[in-house]
Amino acid sequence: MKRVTRALAVVLSTAMVIASLAGCGGQSTKSNTFKIGGIGPTTGAAAVYGLAVKNGADLAIKEINAAGGINGYQIEYNFQDDELDAEKSVNAYNALKDWGMDILVGSVTSGCCVAVAAESVNDNMFQLTPSGSAVDCIANKNVFQVCFTDPNQGIGSAAYIGDNKLASKVAVIYDSSDVYSSGIYAKFAAEAENQPFEIVAAEAFTSDSKTDFSVQLQKAADNGAELVFLPIYYTEASLILTQAASAGYDFKFFGCDGLDGILGVENFDTSLAEGVMLLTPFAADATDEKTQAFVKAYEEAYGETPNQFAADAYDAVYIIKAAIEKAGAKPNMSVSELGDALEKAMTEITVDGLTGLSMKWTEDGAVNKAPKAMIIKDGNYSLIQ
């Protein structure tokens, strides 16, 4: 009996190995299309972000293909799941390489992006991350960012609060288990020393304790904070706003791009978000023509309102298009040649996108665009002039 089990185990594992080996025909043949790969979490806790990026890029690629492609070449697209795990992200990268990827849009999250960047530099694969905001993401010369780096957001927020004299005593509630949140907080706190306000309370929570914020809010109130800075994502922020309102605290709230989407939270009383300020590159309710066209197309195609991640990914594809056109690159170039050409072109182009006008890049890979400060007014995001 046991022998039979063993025999079957051997047969099954042999079959798997053969199946896995059969799936690869060595190097892919170069075709007449640009192959763009994407990596992000489409399952698990962060699936919202991964799916948004997947759809945002998909929408842009469909538009470009319908309009005749880039320099006449069509784009093929393949998005792989990384389950929010750095190791799986590297596996996804390798799977995309087997598929014949020329250019990578990803990874969506910072930690995964750092791990993938360490691999992609060996192939000199051109990598543009829509939302990996940690500085380590762009440490290699082949990686560029669409979103702001975390330090820029932290410094930008502190400077904005200081310059506009929004408050003299500030409390911060941040997620210490999240790279994005703790990254922004670290720079915010450093920049705050140069600003005319004081951080009176810095309260952390972790991904395991993100439902009850009464302690943090109590501390902020006890220390006399006038403004609470929330460098976190909108799900937790909506809870904080609700709990602050029910406890009767009257803080001003200020956030970063993670707060974008707060008006779309189910069962959230959007009147609580009145007067919340956020530094974000994108708001789905913005009135410019480009954003409205994008939001409409996205809602039609995927049945939901796009968030900032979708906009970043949409921009990423158009940035790649601009870089390819600038470099005059062709699909029959090798991955490394393409990488060299695009890395050079990136520093020369200027792109008007959804998430910023006249975006420019330096050789270090960071984007240069003006942050937009929004305020929530009458249940809508509106630009602070």
Partner: protein, 363 residues
Amino acid sequence: MKEFMTRNKDNIITYGIVIVAFVIMQSLISAHAVSSLMTGLMVPLCAYVILAVSLNVTVGILGELSLGHAGFMCVGAFTSAFFSKLTVNVITIGWLRFTLAILIGFVCAGLIGFLIGMPVLRLKGDYLAIVTLAFGEIIKNVINVLYIGRDSNGLHFSTKDALALNMEETGEIIVNGAQGITGTPKNSNFAIGIVLILITLFIVLNLIKSRDGRAIMAIRDNVIAAESVGVNITKYKLLAFSISAALAGVAGVLYSHNISSLMATPKNFGYNMSIMILVFVVLGGIGNIRGSIISAVVLTLLPEMLRGLSNYRMLIYAIVLIAMMLFSWAPKAQDLRARLTGMLPKFGKKKTIAEGGTDNGNE
């Protein structure tokens, strides 16, 4: 020699499978005949095999359920990555630094296993499982609040945030709280992974065959009987638990030196991972070392092989896992398999001889 061969036939087959698998895969990789995905998977596969084999020491040999195995892996991963980051400019000989890193991961994880084992092993069964689960989470969370930096004044520690380190401008943050360790030198490779698997197997298989191993198994089978013949229960329980933890630490070293971004997330070092390792052991057969190796390989490859299914991937993976578990271990399924193989006598017989293993543990 002949006697040695007959007595250790089973172990030799286990080593043989690993070596043959290595030779085949390595030659295919050198000939560029396998995909980049498979090539990239080799080191993680080795790490998971070591994890499965090491957990089998606790679950199969000692007979206690542990749900905190990923915590020990985490200790090994972080201590060794910390060491490598710290000495990357001091010890420039790659293999020497990595060997030391492996030893550090082994010792630190073993030590933590020993310390945790002392209070924890007073419990049995379900109670022990819950407590190990808690300790695994504690390890992960402690690492998530740890900030360590280095500047010309030496090392700085903090559990608050990176600013509280009070470092000079030129200082370098090595462990950055939840952001973990970035830029660990990539020292792991397939050959080293295989050598570590062989060393793990050597330790575990010899432990099972040794006097100590028999004492540990006696505790598993009947504590009272073992105690009555003078077996030191505490000593042997701790021995098995520490060895298991230390080997998990080695797997952590292999893991952390393979990817450049090491973070203690619920995904890689949380209880989900611990349960995953337990699934490897249970599917492969509790106490069956070779089974652990095979199931770790199969279950690690499976989600990657299913990438073609895109969004349905994790769903199908779960279903396949349920099906495999039923197929391997449900009594009815075992009967069915016996009947099916009875109908195909030739096939079954041939395979059995080719595989030719005798039993390795209890089933």
